[in-house]
């Protein structure tokens, strides 16, 4: 049996969704962005809504999203994606609109836009990549950097007495009446990838119902920013990030999930 005998339609078990472009992924090996991109695009393909979907990517590593997502997109200023998405969705209420934002973007410079889009209950999906660091600019402290965690601007570890505490945006927005579905997931293991993909499906299905905003945090690794190998980064994430940012649904169908 040679390669030609193997490459046959009946042997095909997996293929890249055409909703990802053929551009070579420029994200660092080990980064969570690639997986997150892929499952969002897979869900859009499965729902058959490519022509009805508009994505918004702001500033940070996520600014490159439109190199890879084969959909119409608007690039937003740093932190302003929820406002840009609001402008689009209000003019096109029948379209599917989502933002794809990092922690610096969503939880620092864009806090006001995030809170108010959530509070107004804009019928959009916000995907929040939380890796606790500014990846694009080279590993500076983020609003979500853990206490004691080292970064290029907290070289001796985050001192919460002077640098403030990490902010749990997902817990915060779950309290707002405008959010309908709020969940925190990860993509470092197959089971988590499946759960996150399911969450994205729920969020996009919610848009049809005009129930309010769906907010999906993806606790992610940034091995380059954390100065670790991809494997080390995933272990570190599990041991440190996930205990601080526990996974699971916070709000389902507009009701807070009781713990």
């Amino acid at each position: 049996m040679n390669l030609k005998d193997i490459i046959k339609p009946e042997n095909l078990v997996y293929s890249k969704t055409p909703l990802l472009t053929d551009n070579v992924m420029s994200y660092c090996p080990g980064c969570s962005h690639g997986t997150a991109h892929r499952i969002i695009m897979e869900v859009i393909e499965e729902m058959g809504i490519q022509s009805e979907t508009i994505g918004v990517a702001p500033v940070g590593c996520s600014v490159l999203a439109y190199d890879f997502m084969n959909i119409d997109m608007a690039q937003a200023a740093h932190g302003r994606a929820p406002a840009v998405a609001t402008g689009i969705k209000r003019c096109w209420p029948e379209k599917y609109v989502f933002t794809y934002q990092g922690d610096g973007d969503l939880a620092a410079i864009g806090t006001a836009e995030t809170i108010h889009a959530c509070n107004r209950g804009e019928n959009i999906m916000i995907v929040f990549i939380n890796n606790g660091i500014y990846g694009m600019t080279g590993g500076q402290m983020a609003p979500t950097t853990l206490p004691g965690m080292k970064s290029s601007t907290s070289p001796f570890g985050r001192d919460v007495a002077t640098m403030g505490n990490p902010i749990k945006m997902t817990d915060l927005v779950a309290q707002l009446p405008g959010t309908y579905y709020v969940t925190r997931q990860a993509v470092h293991k197959p089971v988590n990838v499946r759960r996150t993909k399911k969450a994205i499906r729920i969020a996009l299905e919610n848009q049809k119902l005009n129930k309010g905003l769906s907010f999906i945090e993806i606790v992610s690794s940034c091995n380059s920013g954390w100065k670790m190998t991809p494997v080390q980064a995933n272990i570190w994430m599990e041991e440190n990030m996930i205990p601080f940012y526990p996974l699971g649904d916070l709000k389902v169908d507009g009701e807070l999930v009781k713990k």
């Binding site: 490519q50 402008g87 836009e113």
Partner: protein
């Protein structure tokens, strides 16, 4: 059908936006322009034409909502006053960079900083030289009446889509707050077709994806993009210069003023003529593109030019460039929210004639 109404300038902007077939307005309250948002909210344009009106959480959010709507090819506007316009500058730079059409209204008040809520024209530099970061220009229209507040909304949208560029209506607290008779134009239909070459409306199978962005990390491609922008601004300079002349034909002395200063200066010209001074008024209507050639020609005709502006002297720099040393150019202005009276302008003109300066 002539429909006449007595309206505030700010109300005329709002009514004209509905009638121009605008799809959306996003704004944030600030004096002296809050009537725009108030009028739109009271008028319920969603019922009239399907137009979206939303009070944003900040001027920053408002301009980014404009960016989003504009990226989809919708006809969208925002309005504010000086401190709020400063907040919008980042978004305006992105809109210019991404080549999106939209309309921005600045009802200028005195600054710097929080300044005052009284009228001013001290945002000329910010309006005509870019305002935010990067090499870009807005097409700037300066209304001098409530009628023009209405007319320039329609014109502004036309120009914004013609050039895929943000258009700024540079008004001030006088024009925004005063009431005058307005002849309203008839209701225009809202646009229902969107240019598949650039609008972000969802990618159908038959075309490549559209991306609204100002980012290109490759400096050579970014430079090329900048060449394209500059060519567009040059085309505006060639095709869109607008101005009005009053008693310029035989003028020996010229006043150049825009907006409410032009109204005051027109009275000053009448007072000067009554005293036997051959004065004329040149009113730029577009501040970018600036009527350079017309002012250059008049500079060869007259003995002196007085620039009148409610500022410490901003437009005078463009007049001096146009006059190119052919004639003495002086500035007269009251600022910080103070409005000059016609006799003060006349006094400044007489000082110019006598060879003196302040």
């Amino acid at each position: 059908m002539r429909e006449l109404r007595l309206m505030k300038g700010n109300e005329a902007i709002a009514e004209a936006a509905i009638r121009a077939g605008a799809d959306a307005y996003f704004g944030y309250p600030i004096t002296p322009q809050s009537e725009v948002l108030e009028y739109l909210m009271a008028e319920q344009p969603m019922e009239r034409t399907g137009m979206v009106v939303l009070q944003a959480e900040s001027e920053i959010a408002a301009i980014n909502m404009v960016y989003g709507a504009a990226a989809t090819g919708k006809r969208v506007l925002t309005s504010s006053s000086s401190p709020g316009i400063s907040l919008k500058q980042e978004g305006i730079s992105y809109i210019a960079g991404a080549e999106l059409p939209c309309l921005i209204v600045n009802v200028v008040r005195g600054g710097p900083g929080l300044g005052t809520i009284q009228p001013s024209q001290a945002d000329y530099f910010q309006s005509t030289k870019g305002g935010g970061h990067g090499d870009y220009r807005l097409l700037v229209l300066a209304p001098a009446s409530v009628q023009e507040m209405s007319d320039f909304v329609k014109l502004g949208f036309e120009l914004a889509f013609k050039y895929r560029n943000p258009v700024l209506i540079l008004s001030d607290g006088v024009i925004g707050q005063m009431m005058e008779k307005v002849e309203l134009f008839e209701q225009q239909p809202r646009v229902t077709t969107f240019d598949p070459a650039w609008t972000v409306t969802g990618k159908p199978k038959e075309r490549e994806r559209n991306i609204a962005t100002s980012l290109d990390l490759d400096p050579y491609r970014q430079e090329k993009h900048n060449y394209k922008l500059q060519a567009k601004y040059k085309a505006m300079e060639e095709n869109e210069v607008r101005f009005e002349e009053f008693d310029c034909k035989d003028a020996e002395y010229l006043i150049v003023a825009y907006g409410s200063s032009a109204r005051i200066s027109q009275k000053a010209v009448q007072l000067a003529r009554a005293k036997g001074i051959k004065a004329g008024l040149f009113r730029p209507i577009t501040l970018f593109p600036f009527p350079k050639q017309e002012i250059s020609a008049l500079a060869s005709q007259v003995k002196g030019i007085l620039s009148v502006e409610m500022s410490a002297g901003q437009m005078i720099e463009d007049i001096q460039l146009a006059a190119a040393g052919k004639v003495n150019v002086q500035h007269f202005g009251r600022y910080g929210g103070v409005i000059p009276a016609p006799d003060e302008v006349l006094e400044a003109l007489e000082l110019l004639i006598s060879g003196g300066s302040k």
